[in-house]
């Protein structure tokens, strides 16, 4: 081990980094030997103020599920072995860690710098409500039939009580043989499915294999579990691989279910009623399409967050049929897209023609340089 490893044991509890990995922004592995105390430039440290603090190694603890309102008192230790964990210094009997330091480069990934500012602004601007993200407030459903999978979705995106998009596409392409419907926050579903598609494309380029639906579901599960439900993506993933047709549903907290038929979104209850009533295993393709369309229609009729058209996606081992729209909304407002009126729309009352007489005044010829 070089001497560099002996110095700097990370300033911060939150980092636990070795010096040679600071610029990479990623936490490092443990240092086997003790470290020297770090003094930041010109700062007084708690150690000097409190004498010898009670430094406890947080080991064998667990990380509780974070509640919606972050409560500083409801704070449990992280589980992992001691050597890599940042050492938490006890303060007022509790545990604390250093989170931000001007001497560290920004770490890539999510940045939580603005959450405090947002909380402060929210308190200051008590009157006006904060801006709301676009949610899809959806009905999505899917089912497995004899030759493959049928996925269906409506096309309405809402932002609060307003319809933000009448023709949004909720069925996202993951790979040639897999498609994923997304409900919840629109940006989250799009980003998550995009990342999944990219990762699967990289995998198939590297390994020369077509990805399995199970792999896609596992990747989604790992990603969403990692972010503890903060990414609001309720997904229905369906596809056909070498082992057959599969349909998975992944929740925002990382739960996965493998089912023959499923529906998600605000209109899922209505859609599920139709599916539960008429689903049979090994249906034919036309019957399956009609059933999925009926389930989405039930969501459109019974839920305010779903509406407009019905999109269908039929995935079989041979081909994918993305039908957009399968059924158009019967409640369009008949808006004319073109406002060009045919001649004769306005009645002609009278006509007067005045010829314009022109006189030739001068005539000049000018050569142009062309070469």
């Amino acid at each position: 081990m070089s001497e560099k490893h002996l110095l700097v044991q990370s300033e911060g509890a939150g980092h636990g980094m070795e010096i040679d990995s600071i610029s990479s922004g990623s936490p490092a592995s443990p240092s086997p030997l003790g470290a020297q105390p770090m003094q930041l430039n010109g700062c007084r440290s708690f150690r000097s103020m409190l004498g010898s603090p009670d430094i406890s190694l947080a080991n064998n603890a667990y990380w509780g599920i974070p509640s919606r309102r972050w409560d500083a008192n409801a704070w449990k230790r992280q589980s992992s072995s001691a050597e890599q964990l940042p050492v938490l210094m006890s303060l007022f009997g509790g545990e604390m860690s250093l989170l931000r330091s001007p001497l560290q480069p920004p770490s890539p990934g999510f940045s939580f710098d603005l959450t405090e500012r947002n909380a402060v602004l929210g308190r200051l601007l008590e009157g006006s409500p904060p801006p709301r993200p676009v949610k899809t407030g959806t009905t999505i459903s899917g089912m497995v039939f004899r030759d493959g999978v049928v996925l269906g979705a409506d096309t309405r995106a809402t932002s609060g009580d307003v319809v933000a998009d009448k023709m949004c596409a909720k069925i996202h392409r993951i790979s040639a043989n897999m498609y994923c419907c997304g409900a919840g926050t629109a940006a989250d579903t799009q980003k998550t499915t995009d990342l999944l598609a990219s990762n699967l494309a990289l995998f198939s380029l590297n390994s020369q294999r077509a990805p399995r639906v199970l792999m896609a579901a596992s990747i989604l599960q790992d990603t969403l579990y990692r972010y503890g439900g903060q990414i609001g993506a309720h997904l229905i993933l369906g596809g056909v691989d070498y082992s057959g047709a599969h349909l998975y549903t992944v929740g925002p907290y990382g739960s996965v279910d493998k089912l023959p038929f499923v529906s998600m979104g605000s209109g899922s209850m209505a859609a599920l009623g139709i599916l539960e009533d008429r689903y049979k295993p090994n249906m034919e393709v036309e019957e399956a399409k009609v059933l999925v369309r009926d389930s989405v229609q039930a969501g459109i009729m019974g839920d305010l967050g779903s509406g407009s058209n019905v999109d269908l996606c039929v995935i079989t081992a041979q081909a994918v049929d993305y039908i957009r729209p399968y059924q158009e909304s019967q409640y369009t407002n008949g808006r004319n897209r073109k406002y060009k009126y045919p001649p004769g729309t306005t009645a002609l009352l009278s006509e007067k023609v005045v010829p314009l007489r022109m006189e030739l005044v001068t005539e000049a010829v000018q050569r142009m340089e062309t070469h």
């Binding site: 939150g14 990995s21 700062c43 440290s45 050492v87 860690s97 920004p106 890539p108 959450t115």
Partner: protein, 136 residues
């Protein structure tokens, strides 16, 4: 293997980030003790330690299955790869480290959001180097 880590905590008001010893509200935001000590978002700590914990879990699993030699050899390679770095205020490509971690074959939020290559701010070179070498 259980090193005791000592460190100091800058207390708000004693060591503000601005000049003249006053908190620079425009650049570094409102100052509050809670802000600097406790996380303001439930995911803040878990995200900060995610890579570390993931590796730890993997090493522990490999150790249980294949014996102690396996994580030792792997960690040796990690430490060797981690030494290939530029100075702290510059961005390193971390190619060897990415290859070992298999993160060169996957895309996550850390590749898209808050890309250090496109950061608008740069760390102070002298301070960061001195901090890295432990001279600060």
């Amino acid at each position: 293997m259980w090193g005791i880590l000592f460190y100091s905590v800058p207390v708000t008001g004693f060591c503000p980030h601005g000049s003249y010893g006053v908190q620079d509200t425009l650049r570094s935001g409102f100052s509050s003790v809670k802000n600097e000590i406790l996380p303001s978002h439930p995911l803040e700590l878990s995200e900060k330690n995610f890579q570390v914990n993931q590796e730890k879990m993997n090493f522990a699993t490999v150790r249980n299955i294949q014996g102690l030699h396996a994580p030792l050899k792997l960690q040796m390679e990690y430490r060797a790869a981690r030494q290939i770095q530029r100075l702290p205020f510059l961005q390193s490509s971390n190619l060897a480290l990415d290859t070992l971690r298999n993160s060169d074959e996957s895309i996550g939020f850390e590749d898209i959001l808050n890309d250090p290559y496109q950061s608008e701010l740069m760390g102070e070179p002298h301070m960061m180097t001195e901090y890295q070498l432990g001279l600060l």
